[in-house]
């Protein structure tokens, strides 16, 4: 298990967003989190990334307890994420966006950059080459100097994933990666996600509503409803499960 959530409860005031939830993600898996809106999926992401502190329970990553660690330190331990609504750095070009991901790998100090000492050039050159390689992997090398806000939606999504990968993660959290994409863009994205997963030896935890995408990508899915687990297993079994269907469509048996 690379990521284990043990008895997580998250309360916002009187509202229980997640109720005593436990599950584990094995290394190398693509693990899907699905469920209707408001089921607590993004809240769960925010707990894993350290943006929220859970009311109860533990988050164990790589056999180490990470709850209470600051979000930027969790990234340095190897968990990277993308956002549901794409959040690129809009004033910067594509290359700079990816370079931000290499921030902690450019090992020079503030003073060294002020006086332009050799280490500044050494590491800037190194991360720039790596960032260009990363962009090539996503087929974005031609757009390196384009402003990130003028890209197409599909490409912005790719830049966001490239940027997350630049932080050198072992676990990648994707929050609705296929949202707002047409079927050919989704297809393209699935291929890229599989490719980078193998290339970087990643484990992926993703939230998605597009069931075709989930079916096609995920090894295991966890279905949440009102903060509780209602199903864990193969995606093909999830869509025929009675509880899952009633969570999405409503309960027809008593209607």
């Amino acid at each position: 298990m690379i990521l284990e959530l043990q008895n997580i409860t998250m309360q916002f005031g009187g509202v229980t967003a997640i109720d005593d939830l436990s599950f584990g993600v094995k290394a190398g898996q693509i693990y899907g989190l699905i469920g209707p809106n408001g089921a607590g999926k993004t809240t769960l992401f925010n707990i894993v990334t350290g943006n929220y502190k859970q009311t109860k329970g533990n988050v164990v990553f790589n056999h180490e307890e990470i709850s209470g660690t600051k979000p930027n330190m969790i990234v340095q331990r190897g968990i990277a994420r993308t956002f549901q609504n794409i959040r690129l750095f809009k004033s910067m070009n594509v290359l700079e966006n990816v370079l931000i991901g290499y921030h902690n790998q450019a090992n020079y100090t503030y003073i060294e950059s002020i006086f332009r000492l050799p280490r500044h050039f050494l590491y800037e050159k190194k991360i720039k080459n790596e960032a260009m390689e990363m962009l090539e992997r996503f087929g974005l090398a031609d757009l390196a100097y384009t402003n990130s806000s003028s890209l197409s939606y599909g490409n912005q999504r790719k830049v966001e994933i490239a940027r997350a990968l630049a932080t050198n993660p072992r676990l990648l959290l994707l929050d609705e990666p296929a949202a707002g994409m047409n079927s050919s863009e989704t297809e393209d994205l699935s291929n890229i996600i599989r490719k980078i997963k193998d290339e970087f030896g990643l484990t992926i935890l993703l939230i998605e509503h597009d069931m075709k995408f989930v079916n096609n990508m995920c090894d295991i899915v966890l279905v949440l409803d009102y903060g509780e687990e209602i199903f864990e297993g193969k995606p093909s079994e999830a869509i025929v499960n009675e509880k899952v269907v009633s969570a999405y469509l409503g309960d027809f048996t008593n209607a």
């Binding site: 956002f83 809009k90 931000i100 950059s113």
Partner: protein, 334 residues
């Protein structure tokens, strides 16, 4: 590329040398003023424009820098003569160095105080920085007023050695400009811009946003302190009332006019605003318009500047340079 940059620097330095040795005293004093305000505005733009943390503190740091530099350069005998409200404290009498170390100390003291301010302020998000720094400016002024043993109170300090000339201010301006660009085009500058654009996303990239903001704030304070020291030596006399919010406001006009986040724009803004203040001096005086004497209206210049700012906000919100640099022209496509 590198050659172009170096030649631009060489031309500026040559111009400074030429101006100091050939221009008349009035022109030199205007250039001197422009250079000092450029230093202040450049550093103010780092925290406000590049890191996007709206703050209103420069008058506080400039005051600190001016007082530190003045106290370190004034000889002890002059201090004893000057302090009439209360005898100077032994600490004040003991402080004495030459001009350059005094300037560095101005910067260091300002930077240390900036660090102490940033600990409470940057732990929370939002507009707290603006409120706290605005208050900070007032506190410094009131402190200077009410510590006669340290600062000679409301009487201020006079006869500060006028070591400063265009070589000092011009050279330090160039150094500040180069350092600011070095910061912007490094991982730290990128991180500052990332914090400005989207702080959550910056954190999700593993950036410690508290330290990035603190770096920007301390660097900004350092050069504001140095600029304050230069100002004290240029004016040879300082008093608490010089460092009101109006000073901050003037710097805000410069950076908004030049472009928030653009250092080249800041230099242009400083030239326009400080040069313009001199050039528009005729507005404050008696004017004859077709034989009709308007009488003197002191302060009319500031009305013109306020109108300029309103027009800027309406039609060119990004300022002259936006957030681009002059050197970006050469960077394109590289």
């Amino acid at each position: 590329m590198k050659l172009i940059k170096l030649s631009i620097l060489a031309i500026i330095l040559l111009f400074i040398w030429f101006a100091q040795s050939h221009f008349d005293a009035y022109a030199v004093s205007i250039l001197n003023n422009i250079a000092i305000f450029a230093i202040l505005a450049l550093s103010y733009n780092l925290i406000n424009g590049v890191a996007g943390q709206f703050s209103l503190e420069p008058n506080g740091f400039v005051a600190i820098g001016a007082y530190v530099a003045a106290l370190f350069t004034l000889p002890a005998a002059t201090k004893i003569d000057m302090y009439v409200l209360q005898d100077p404290s032994p600490l004040v009498l003991a402080m004495h160095t030459s001009f350059l170390p005094a300037l560095l100390l101005s910067g260091v003291v300002a930077a240390v105080i900036a660090f102490m301010l940033s600990i409470p302020v940057f732990r929370v998000r939002g507009d707290y920085l603006a409120i706290v720094t605005l208050g900070f400016g007032f506190i410094i002024r009131i402190f200077a007023m009410n510590q006669p043993a340290m600062t000679n109170g409301a009487l201020g300090l006079n006869d500060i050695p006028d070591t400063e000339n265009l070589y000092w201010s011009g050279f330090i301006m160039v150094v500040t400009f180069v350092i600011m660009l070095n910061i912007i085009y490094s991982k730290y500058g990128r991180a500052m811009k990332a914090v400005r654009d989207d702080e959550d996303a910056a954190t999700a990239m593993g950036i410690n946003t508290f330290w990035i903001k603190t770096y920007a704030f301390m660097t900004s304070a350092f050069f504001e302190g140095v600029g304050g020291g230069l100002m004290a030596s240029m004016l040879t006399t300082i008093a608490p009332d010089q460092f009101t919010f109006l000073l901050t406001f003037q710097l805000l006009i410069i950076i908004v006019l030049g472009g928030l986040g653009s250092m080249s724009g800041t230099i242009v803004g400083a030239i326009l605003v400080m040069g313009g203040t001199e050039w528009l001096r005729f507005l404050d005086q008696n004017m004859d318009i077709f034989g009709y004497n308007t009488g003197a209206h002191p302060g009319l210049r500031m009305v013109v500047f306020s109108m300029l700012l309103i027009v800027m906000m309406l039609f060119a919100r990004k300022g002259i340079f936006g957030n681009k640099e002059l050197t970006d022209i050469f960077r394109r496509g590289k």
